[in-house]
Symmetry: D2
Subunit: 129 residues, 4 copies
Amino acid sequence: MISACASAQTVDKTDMFSGAWKNDRGSHVVIKNNDGLLSGYYQTNLGEPDKSAMFPLTGFAQGDQIAFTVNFKGYGSMTSWTGQLTEDENGPYIRTLWNLTRDIADEEEPDDMWNSITAGASDFRPSGE
Amino acid sequence: MISACASAQTVDKTDMFSGAWKNDRGSHVVIKNNDGLLSGYYQTNLGEPDKSAMFPLTGFAQGDQIAFTVNFKGYGSMTSWTGQLTEDENGPYIRTLWNLTRDIADEEEPDDMWNSITAGASDFRPSGE
Amino acid sequence: MISACASAQTVDKTDMFSGAWKNDRGSHVVIKNNDGLLSGYYQTNLGEPDKSAMFPLTGFAQGDQIAFTVNFKGYGSMTSWTGQLTEDENGPYIRTLWNLTRDIADEEEPDDMWNSITAGASDFRPSGE
Amino acid sequence: MISACASAQTVDKTDMFSGAWKNDRGSHVVIKNNDGLLSGYYQTNLGEPDKSAMFPLTGFAQGDQIAFTVNFKGYGSMTSWTGQLTEDENGPYIRTLWNLTRDIADEEEPDDMWNSITAGASDFRPSGE
């Protein structure tokens, strides 16, 4: 019974990723967890002319861990988030670090590739939508 | 005509991700690029009891940019790589930064979540296989 | 007069780093800003047997930017924080990303150097002490 | 005798940081190690109008670990490198990850702070100068 409970708990946690999340900068992400393989979309609230644009998402979830990638197609950048579901006094949230790569034109790669990756941290909380 | 050529070049570059790659630590990755959505598998040469284990991969490619995620299922970790295809005097390679999240037990999260993410850099070159 | 005010404001901001700060995990840092060159000490609240231990700090501040390093001597690790002073509805805070390197024994470097660096984010707020 | 040797070896390694180093992008760094506290200067080969400019350095070294910060005064950025001295078939090198913060104007911080930090990897080898 104990192992059955442990197993059930793990399943619950994996399923907890499915749904709508919102980060501290107002971006929205909708995640669908299909047995560990993630799909969904991301709506950024930053740096975009069209804030209604939805960008596709792929990634994996396992237990309370998650890693996912978004292709900001048409805007020359891609981002990967890596992290873990945890909780604080305000409830559950996904705590991530991310790397964003922006496209460097081929002829400028020798000079500019070194600064093509931006890094940061982002927390996602259930958006209640 | 110039834009047609530029477009053709972009397509070629995207297709260049399909194939077998090897990083500087002897890990192998096989990537299949299906119109920008990546699948494939990763074989690590490090920190694993069974080096023949293959771990599934998902991600995106766009132009010469790439971001992909691997779930090291059974080993409590997941990694995302983010980067760009470029070249040096030894030929083309994928230049990436990565973040690895390792699972922290729930009861230790308040103390240990801060050190759950390892970061690094990795270059992948065609493995000629 | 405008440029004088702008200059004064820059000076104020630089001086704003001098003082006591506390991060979200309860670590304390005391910074002394001597014309842009920082000294001070760091008291961690994590992963240490002796929480009263003070570790020396060095770094630079310029305008509202800051970067500083702490040597956790005796514990085999060193951390660099990089970031910027900004503010939200709760007041000013220093928003940073950090990299921590932990010592890998020479004989294990070929296998383990890849996972020697831990990454994270940390916000420091005035500790009011 | 064994512990004496081990101690001597540690001292040697610390002293190995003093000298001139060059990274893979042609930047030069001169490090002076004064009992673990570093000083020196950095000459970048990238993104600067004046490549002869020397920027001051501060940081710490301990055993084969190193972390140092450079203030690119006048160019609105600061960088911290964190890493470890190791060696490969080409000899010793310092393997680092770095974070660079670039100044965001106060009025743009709410929108742009998220992309103020650039991340990367850099190896420094003895420059033989």
